[in-house]
């Protein structure tokens, strides 16, 4: 693999006009990645789903080369109807369009950070891979006291030009004091067998609010890894919702550092998996100062041959008195071949805290099905109704009503 990495890297250097400085940075990351390789099950965080094996099995001919010199056509049919929104369009590894039409242009700044030294101290080799091969790095800065009028949708899409390729995206967001951003990640992949690696970095200043909704609904054969790093200052709020349903493999990782007092983080997720899908969510909440709060709710519905993993970690430092942390994961296994794994972890060094977690898994309750069937529903209908209710619980946690309705429509749950 090492040779291919190098030759693909050289090809990218040839086709795009990178400065020497950039090449130097990228090379460091490339070398780091070459040293570490894809993460495997020997690493604690990758114990349940071994990405290096999964890539080997699914994309034997993975290529790292991506021609960034040619632009891609935007297909408007992928756009979400019925909701006015700002757009970032990301096709085949290139950001084709950044469009903040609904907003006050003076309040939003888009900074090209590609040339900046972005070195990060990170164990995760996939971040190295991302930094080595990503095209442009933009920082989106929302200025003080500005709330975006409309949500921002990032369209992630691939077309026929690309197959068995590693696609990388890196975006940085800075939310100034008292600002607000609603961000939807919308995946519509038409081609198969790509490995998509997304890295977002959020910095939330005091009193700012971030809402991030990740929607991967349509069945596709891609493998995805997404990492959100969220730094939170005083009184800031972050809300993340993950719908994990479409791809063959996704691992969503959220790392949240609660650096400011009275900051809070909410993460809610749904796995809705069918044939041969393997999905994972891993959350790490670091309570670093007093009076912070976090809440995680993850629910899985697992069909034939599918597997979901939830690893949730709550860390409370000895300074973080009065922490309130709660975590719950639940799974319904619909078939003999489905599998649910969980590792809810608490690491606590302060005594005046309230932390708890719970995890439950099992099949649909036969009594409930009997109850519904005795009232005239068919077996299938009762099953659907119960699953509907099970998932609705998570969707109700979405605080933005417009987006909540949109997601309800996309998932197809009814009230």
């Amino acid at each position: 693999m090492s040779e291919q990495l190098q030759s693909d890297f050289d090809k990218i250097v040839k086709t795009s006009n990178l400065s020497n400085e950039e090449i130097r940075f990228k090379k460091i990351f490339l070398d780091n990645f070459k040293k570490k390789g894809f993460p495997n099950r020997k690493q604690e965080d990758w114990k349940f789903l071994d990405i290096s094996q999964i890539i080997k099995k699914n994309i034997s001919d993975l290529s790292f080369f991506n021609d960034y010199s040619q632009s891609n056509k935007i297909d408007p049919s992928i756009f979400v109807d019925g909701l006015e929104h700002n757009k970032i369009i990301f096709i085949n590894g290139r950001i084709e369009k950044i469009d903040f039409n609904f907003e006050d242009q003076n309040k939003i700044e888009i900074i090209d950070e590609t040339k900046k030294d972005i070195s990060l101290d990170c164990e995760n080799s996939l971040i190295d891979l991302n930094s080595a091969f990503t095209d442009k790095i933009f920082k989106i800065l929302i200025k003080k006291n500005y709330s975006l009028k409309k949500p921002l949708i990032i369209y992630h899409s691939t077309d026929d030009k690309i197959k068995s390729t590693n696609i990388n995206l890196r975006l940085d967001f800075e939310l100034g004091e008292n600002s607000c951003l609603k961000l939807i990640d919308y995946f519509s992949n038409n081609t198969a067998k790509n490995f998509i690696n997304i890295f977002y970095n959020f910095n939330l200043e005091s009193n700012s609010i971030l809402k991030n909704y990740k929607i991967d609904k349509f069945r596709n054969n891609n493998l995805k890894y997404s990492f959100n790093n969220i730094e939170q200052n005083n009184n800031s709020v972050s809300e993340t919702f993950i719908l994990s349903a479409g791809s063959d493999y996704i691992k969503n990782e959220i790392n949240c550092n609660l650096n400011g007092e009275y900051s809070s983080a909410f993460i809610n997720g749904i796995f809705s998996l069918k044939e041969n899908q393997q999905h994972e969510i891993r959350t790490t909440i670091n309570h670093l100062v007093e009076n912070t709060k976090s809440y995680q709710l993850i629910k899985s519905v697992l069909g034939k041959n599918s597997k979901s993993v939830y690893q949730g970690r709550i860390f409370v430092s000895s300074k973080a008195q009065k922490t309130d942390g709660y975590q719950l994961s639940k799974a319904i296994l619909l078939d003999e071949t489905s599998e649910f794994n969980a590792k809810p972890e608490l690491e606590i060094y302060a005594d005046d805290v309230k932390c708890s977690h719970g995890s439950a898994s099992g099949s649909l309750n036969e009594d409930s099905i009997f109850y519904l069937m005795s009232r005239g529903l068919s077996y299938q209908q009762s099953k659907e109704l119960l699953i509907n209710g099970f998932l609705l619980d998570v969707i109700e946690k979405i605080t933005d009503s417009e987006i909540r309705n949109l997601i309800k429509n996309i998932i197809g749950v009814k009230e």
């Binding site: 604690e44 000895s318 008195q321 799974a331 296994l333 619909l334 078939d335 003999e336 071949t337 489905s338 599998e339 649910f340 794994n341 969980a342 590792k343 809810p344 972890e345 608490l346 690491e347 606590i348 060094y349 302060a350 005594d351 005046d352 805290v353 309230k354 932390c355 708890s356 977690h357 719970g358 995890s359 439950a360 898994s361 099992g362 099949s363």
Partner: protein, 480 residues
């Protein structure tokens, strides 16, 4: 304060911190084939036993010490330990209690287990393991009547080789992890229990472990077999004298329950935890595993862990037989600089298997406590269920409490429920108790005992009283 006074001062803290002046026979220092042969030879073992040890030693050479655990410790030099240490007077085994070295008997008296008295009054059969050698087994006659075999491991190897051969190493194979394999190679003694078909053991069986000599590791091996339809309750208690250096204790305990059999295994572990500054103390790296081999069998582990500088153990159940049940009740208390990484593994293989885990962790001072557990329901284990509850109590903000459960559900008919909470003793509770005339320490003791009640209830009477006191003693000085 001169040293003598200091020593006396120390003794106050750890009641079992005395050493007994008895001459020891030791194997040469270090670990190699010759030492293993020496141990085997001195114990007059048959060849198959030596082969078993050597096979383990071969395997050990390939293994690395694991290091994924939370409490880190300085590297142990395995060549700097004595692997065999026996009181000299034991060379010709005494036939009855009266022949025992009177000093030994006194030691047990200090420990609170006067053998004769206990044999007479309590009706508990005791097998005491002193350093590495089993000293006396009481109440033998009574047990023989029922056909129960309760003796030291060395005796069992001589007298019941068929049983030992058949079951030794079936639950913890010689190829297991580092410490278990080390034990298989160098274990010196331990207890052996066999309960014949249909027999309910009429009394509690008990072992008392004590590390006396310095620079010795204690590697005992316990094997308990409950044949069809039998029942046994087994108690284990541990102490060690105070020494500045760390001592290693790496025991293996294997339980086998055949059809309809039940084994109840209770431990009160009070090894020397080191002094207030974390110097010295026992490294308690024990492998305990039970196999519910037959249908409707049941294994239940109860542990009260208050001692040791580092406790690192996971008493486990392999639920192989259909309808078998595994239970784990644990109280772990760490104070000062103690560290504990403990929990259980419940591996469901058979249909309709059930397991229950109740774990209570209390950390105070500068200590660190981790609950680590695995619940694995196999795809064939239809209609199985597990319930896990682990609660932690923190006292002060210099200590840590962690929960790391691994949950694997591969069967859609099965249910797993897991709950964990972390909290502290509330001011209201303390205030309420103090208002009624308790001093703060008594109040904490009372609240903690209430917190642990679910587990303490599982212990046999005599142990429960001792454990309750121990809970109080362990937390002394942690309030305020």
């Amino acid at each position: 304060m001169d040293t003598r006074e200091k020593d006396i001062e120390k003794l106050k803290d750890y009641k079992y911190g005395f050493t007994t002046d008895i001459e020891n026979i030791r194997a040469p220092k270090g670990l190699n084939e010759d030492v293993i042969k020496f141990i085997s030879n001195i114990k007059k073992e048959p060849k198959w036993m030596l082969d078993f040890r050597l096979k383990a030693y071969e395997r050990l050479k390939l293994l690395k010490e694991p290091n994924w655990q939370k409490p880190k410790y300085p590297k142990i030099d395995y060549q700097d330990l004595y692997y065999y240490s026996a009181p000299k007077s034991m060379k010709d085994k005494p036939k009855s209690l009266d022949e025992l070295d009177p000093k030994l008997l006194e030691t047990y008296k200090k420990l609170g287990i006067p053998l004769q008295e206990q044999a007479r009054l309590n009706g508990i059969a005791v097998d005491a393991v002193f350093d590495s050698v089993s000293v006396a087994t009481t109440f033998k006659g009574e047990l023989t009547k029922y056909g129960i075999i309760f003796c030291s491991m060395s005796e069992a190897i001589q007298k019941h080789p068929d049983l030992v051969k058949k079951y030794l190493g079936t639950v913890i194979p010689v190829t297991d992890h580092f410490f278990a394999t080390l034990n298989s190679a160098v274990f010196t003694d331990g207890s052996f229990v066999y309960i014949p078909e249909g027999v309910k053991c009429p009394m509690e069986l008990s072992t008392y472990f004590r590390i006396n000599a310095s620079e010795t590791g204690q590697f005992e091996r316990t094997l308990i077999i409950a044949d069809k339809g039998s029942y046994v309750s087994y108690l284990e208690g541990c102490t060690a004298p105070m020494r500045d250096e760390n001592q290693l204790h790496a025991a293996n305990v294997e339980l086998i329950a055949l059809e309809d059999a039940e084994i109840k295994y209770s431990t009160v572990q009070n090894w020397y935890p080191g002094d207030e500054n974390g110097k010295g103390g026992i490294y308690n790296f024990v492998t305990k595993r039970g196999l519910c081999k037959g249908k409707n069998s049941k294994i239940s582990w109860t542990q009260v862990e208050t001692g040791s500088a580092i406790t690192w153990k996971y008493p486990s159940c392999i639920l192989k037989g259909d309808n078998s049940i595994g239970e784990f009740y644990s109280i772990a208390i760490t104070n000062n600089h103690q560290k504990a990484d403990t929990g259980t593994k419940m591996i469901h293989l058979g249909k309709n298997t059930k397991s229950k885990i109740i774990s209570k962790g209390i950390s105070a001072g500068f200590s660190d406590m981790t609950y680590r557990g695995l619940v694995d329901i196999n795809s064939k284990a239809k209609n199985s269920s597990n319930y896990t509850q682990c609660d932690s109590l923190l006292m002060g903000n210099k200590c840590g409490a962690h929960t790391v459960p691994y949950i694997k559900n591969k069967n859609f008919d099965s249910n797993i429920a897991h709950e964990a909470t972390t909290s502290k003793i509330s001011e209201e509770q303390l205030h309420y108790c103090q208002q009624r005339g308790l001093n703060p320490e008594e109040a904490v003791g009372l609240i903690v005992n209430g917190f642990c009640k679910e587990v303490l209830q599982q212990l046999p009477m005599e142990f429960a009283v001792e454990a309750q006191k121990l809970v109080g003693i362990s937390l002394e000085g942690s309030v305020g």
